[in-house]
Amino acid sequence: MSEDARSVLGNPPPFRNPADERPLAKILLIGLALVFLAFFLLLPLVSVFVEAFRKGWSEYYEALIEPDAAAAIRLTLLVAAISVPLNLVFGLCASWAIAKFEFKGKSFLITLIDLPFSISPVISGLVYVLLFGSNSLLGPILKSQGITILFAVPGIVLATVFVTFPFVARELIPLMEDQGTGDEEAALSLGASGWQTFWYVTLPNIKWGLLYGVLLCNARAMGEFGAVSVVSGHIRGLTNTMPLHVEILYNEYNFVAAFAVASLLALLALVTLALKTLLELRFGAGAAGGRH
């Protein structure tokens, strides 16, 4: 374009890719998304901490060291410490069988593993009440043996295991299917034993996906409410996990204490999210599993 033509036509409008939205539409869409997320995600998160510190540090601190709260924290840690390793072992076994072998009924097995995701947490607790309750088949037998499962730690662990059952397996199955069996076959043909192959070949390949699954499993195990609430019996200081303690305090209108305990759980969620994001950034979304 010559100088003359430019002076006649004026400056050409800035180039806009026709396969892009107008800048105004862009800004509106971003604004809409941000306002929506602020109202539904950000404000609830912020309000947990604001409510917890409403009466200052000392009230906050006291709510956490109070004996019932301390017992709830200990119980939550204990339940997670039992149920996460159980589901970790299951996740490794199930993904090894499913990803490394071709067998009949495989997709049905995967559907069954996913089952707890589509069952209401309350029903997850209910099935154990029906199984071990006083008017069930097993209840009287267990009672005569002096074994208590319901309204005690074993029941809480069982309900937690049920609810967090698919997390590790769900992360590992697609990851190990992608990796195929080539590495393991090479190791075995070079004379490695089965265990050696698992420890030195498979495990290093899946460690980040495994960590990712364990993180999500742990977050859910510590935070589970519905299933645990049905089987726990709400005995203060004995069978109250942190989420149940939050509920009791809230229903007693002791809001500062409720939000103080809740803030610990929110902190756990934030740490989980931070680690998860870090894993995804460093190893790509592929290394750290798919969706849930």
Partner: protein, 285 residues
């Protein structure tokens, strides 16, 4: 081996031969663990329901309070999933297509409902949307918390990541050249989005809807604090199960649980159908 297999196709095998060890051990352990933790307890629930007989089952099902609770659970979950489909798709679009400050942080925070314990979400939303809360006071005298609308708010929170995380990967895979082709053929941006982009996203959006809906129907912890829990008005089905249990009305609790279980199995089946249909149409998920 291959020759043998073709020579005797009638021979049934559980698994294809492999030199990798540990099949029996890992599958055996997995099946045993699955049976003890999931299958036997769930079968126990169904067995208990069968023990009620049809008349007992229908007595619970036709009870007005049960019907209202089921209607509220499914209705609010449906509305919340619709809200999530609209806003979740917008959020996924903004996160995949635009670059703006804080995008990574926003992307990470979308997973918050997966990580935040439901009871914490429940009390936070209740405090926020209550008539004297930060958000609730903005809408006064219109009440959000302690009405069915409050349930929808909680379920929107719970279901959002299901839609975003299902739609987002498909959006990332979209071919920009198709959009450019549409533009060179004279389509305006709105036509390109509604006629070219959205049809490709439909299976993912439907899957996200179904996942958010299924999760919302069973949700308990985040809902009970904000719902108000008034029978026939804002009482959800999972809460009614808990109430029946506390009354030692095991028959009532069992029957409601079975109805919910059957419906969620149907949902799961539908999700699988959508994904199978999607694979046939597009060759990938």
């Amino acid at each position: 081996m291959i020759h043998n297999a073709t020579a005797s196709p009638a021979k049934w095998r559980l698994k294809r031969p492999s030199i990798i060890p540990g099949f029996g051990l890992t599958l055996g352990f997995s099946l045993a663990y699955l049976s003890i933790i999931i299958l036997i307890p769930v079968a126990g629930l169904l067995w208990r329901t069968a023990g009620l007989g049809w008349s007992g089952f229908f007595a619970v099902l036709t009870d007005q309070r049960t019907q209202d609770a089921l209607y509220i659970s499914f209705g609010t979950a449906f509305v919340a999933a619709l809200v999530n489909v609209v806003f979740g798709t917008v959020v996924a679009w903004v996160l995949t297509r635009y670059n703006f400050p804080g995008r990574r942080l926003i992307d990470a925070i979308v997973d918050l409902p997966f990580a935040l314990p439901t009871a914490v979400a429940g009390i936070a939303l209740a405090a926020l949307y209550a008539p004297n809360g930060w958000v609730g006071s903005l809408f006064m005298p219109f009440r959000i918390a302690f009405t069915p609308l409050g349930i929808v708010v909680a379920l929107v929170f719970i279901g959002l990541p299901f839609v975003v995380r299902t739609v987002q990967p498909v959006m990332e895979e979209l071919d920009r050249e198709v959009e450019e082709a549409a533009a060179t053929l004279g389509a305006n941006r709105f036509q390109t989005i509604s006629r070219v982009i959205l049809p490709g996203l439909t299976p993912a959006i439907l899957t996200g809807f179904a996942l958010a809906f299924a999760r919302g129907v069973g949700e308990y912890g985040s809902v009970i604090f904000i719902a108000g829990n008034i029978p026939y008005v804002s009482e959800i089905a999972p809460l009614l199960i808990v109430i029946r249990l506390e009354e030692f009305n095991y028959a009532g609790a069992t029957a409601i649980a079975t109805i919910m279980l059957i419906i969620s199995f149907v949902m799961l089946f539908i999700i699988n159908l959508i994904q199978a249909w999607n694979r046939r149409r597009y060759g990938n998920v």
